[in-house]
């Protein structure tokens, strides 16, 4: 990790669900509202902060996002936007789910927005049966109920099974 030239170069340690430890510069960690609140209260940066719901692979991605956004000056919005789309480009659904859950838990709004929007854009043109499978949702309609809801929204089904 590149050394920071800011005064505020304290570091803290995050621990993933699978036991891997990550040394993070404080200004990067502050992208997370959860960590910010912990640091604002009594948590000493010497402590290891456990993140029991986030695996190492996801946490590495999250911290990559935070570092980019913490280091970029606000004038470089265009550069950040292209970083964001490149960052998510080839990610599969499972990785996106993990990112959404991590960003939701760590309260990183920007990351939550882009990852959740990416999922939405991916399922937009999929049939509802496939959406059930993607989200592992059980169909609790009777065939009659399902037909009635579908009929009411028939305009939206053109070209869909």
């Amino acid at each position: 990790m590149a050394s920071s030239i800011e005064n505020n170069n304290e570091k803290l340690t995050l621990k993933s669900s699978d036991g891997e430890e990550f040394l993070v510069e404080k200004h990067v960690a502050l992208q997370s509202t959860l960590l910010q609140n912990m640091l604002d209260s009594d948590c000493s940066s010497a402590d290891v902060i456990p993140l029991p719901k986030i695996d190492a692979r996801t946490l590495a991605l999250v911290l990559g996002y935070c570092k980019k956004h913490a280091d970029a000056s606000s004038s470089k919005q265009g550069e950040l936007n292209s970083f964001d789309s490149e960052f998510l480009k080839d990610m599969d659904m499972g990785a996106l789910f993990n990112l959404v859950l991590a960003a939701n838990f760590m309260e990183i709004k920007g990351l939550l927005d882009i990852a959740a929007q990416k999922i939405a854009d991916t399922i937009k043109d999929k049939p509802h049966q496939e959406v059930r499978e993607i989200f592992h949702v059980e169909n609790d309609y009777t065939p009659e109920e399902e037909a009635a809801v579908r009929e009411e929204n028939r305009w939206a089904f053109e070209g869909f099974p």
């Binding site: 939405a120 579908r150 009929e151």
Partner: protein, 406 residues
Amino acid sequence: MGMVRKKEKREGTSCGSELMEKEEIPAEIILEEIMWRLPVKPLARFRSVCKTFNSTISSDPKFAILQLKNSSAITTTTCFDRKRVMLWQCLDCSSAFFLEKKNSIFSIQKINTSPIKVNKASSSYYSIVASCDGLVCLLQQIKNEVGSVSNSIMFWNPLTGETKRVSDPPTFPCLTKWFTYGLGYDSSTDDYKLVQINLGFEHNEIGLFQPNNVGVFSLRANSWRQIQDFPSSNLICSFRPGVFNNGALRWTCFSKDNSPNYHYKIVSFCLEKEKYTLLDITTIDFRLYNHYHVGIQVLGDKLAVYYPSNVNCSYHLLFTNLYDNSESWTDHIVTIPNDTWFSTPLCLFENVGEVLFQVSGGQLGVYRLKDGAFRYLNVLDLPETFQALTFSESLISPNTYKGTRN
């Protein structure tokens, strides 16, 4: 909650290098963080996923507001994703359609939530008088046995099918049974306001028109109140619905002097201050034209006015940017071959730089801004006559709307 997550384990498809515990995504996260980022059309389909999805999508006010805010924040590049063109076939069966485009072929899709039970024998007539953020206002005009007309207004969200009948306006001293409307969102009160202007069409002996009185219906308060009259007693407001942009409803209106001239203006009604401002557009000598139709439309982020030029079948289409008060206009001359009657611009397809027109009451065509070319669109199953409007889709409920801020 009617949703049960399957217990079966998910297959890891990506990096098989290590054993990873795949999180299943909880239902709350799907609905609270992901689904409202979709446009309304896929949401209408995903109501079929399960009962929890259905009830959240169709009737959770918080979900509807998140969906609307997210939709408005996304720049619209085409008219077929967040924003649509709606066609209302008012004469025979009161059906609504969306214009669709797939692989550059245009077609129409019937909307099945029409609130109107067709009764051929009834002497009711429904027209769309206003629309904003997915809410449509329908005016029902009922003719009774002695021939007098009574009006009744209904809010309708075509995408959820929900309707709300509006109480009759208190009996303002309305001079005629003719009204024009506009629907807009007032951010200062976080409320939708339906504005009704009585059109005092009648002449008196000295040629002056009567004052136009104005009522405002608040969706949150569910009630009408009368406000300051239309700005001038000799201004006649267009019967076309007001367009809403930048916090104000705008109509075209005209005044007349002793010459054959009609003086056209834009009247803007600021929804927050409930005040009117006037802006001159043009003066038209009505003897020169086979029709003198002046109108206003929001095209992309610009306001545009249009009126006939002195060449048959052609119109001035002027774009302005009212926000910077520069009052600079860009003029296009739009020539529509075989145009026989009112032609009106409907919306701007920003991605291709084309303005969609309704031609002669029943056809569609596009004008290309770049080179001025006009072509008719071939639309499968297009009704012969229809009312057309642009429609920004939402799931907002006309019955439970309590503001967007909480």
